[in-house]
Subunit: 146 residues, 2 copies
Amino acid sequence: MLDTLTGYLHEHFPLSGALGVAVESWDGRTLRLRAPLAPNLNHHRTAFGGSLSALAILCGWAALHLKLGEGAGRWRLVIQRSAVDFDAPVQADFTASATIPDGAEWARFLRTLERHGRARITVGGDLLSAGRATGHHEGVFVASPL
Amino acid sequence: MLDTLTGYLHEHFPLSGALGVAVESWDGRTLRLRAPLAPNLNHHRTAFGGSLSALAILCGWAALHLKLGEGAGRWRLVIQRSAVDFDAPVQADFTASATIPDGAEWARFLRTLERHGRARITVGGDLLSAGRATGHHEGVFVASPL
């Protein structure tokens, strides 16, 4: 399943190839995507903030895509707002996590989507490298009819 | 000068090549970077939010780098916080702009940097495509000793 998602991301988001994205894990609520440092370097030889931001946005989107499951094909799912805090330089390969909100919030999102054909949800997560958090991100996503 | 900056970005930020970044204009205060749609598509065949976010962050960083001029080499300049609003789907090639704050704010930044060896500045700008604004971004950058 994880390889299938990696392939899907590379096929539909060509920047995934340049970022070197691979799916690390998905437990039904939290998705982790990883990327190598080398293609994502900046002028200080640490990870470029734009790469971290792109991985975080992709992770939030993909977590929602996975959670929607077979229903994902019915909706247009796009990011409306992204906020990323960069707390420490990233000096090695890195991962982004994204966690779907808990049961009640997810149920509200699905109910609003079914009733009104449009709903908004916030997905947050961490940026991690070498075993510690290096930042945090939050994405507001909107689902609407295709 | 613009070609020199394009070359610098591609050399030091390898993701620039994948994004297809080129410098469009710099008037001493506002920088515009452009990127083609094709390598930055998402699953809906519009621009991937992660690409827009990466271009915006690169634009803010590069505007500060240009404005610091010969002094740029003395400082470590990194992004601390990024916020991007995506207001409309991007269906063509796109640009990000970043505008250095006005004289007093810029002077305060330089003065703090010289006095304390560390200073923070916020740079904002627009995302544009096909002649209209499709979003807005704001980046908080920190300069500190190399």
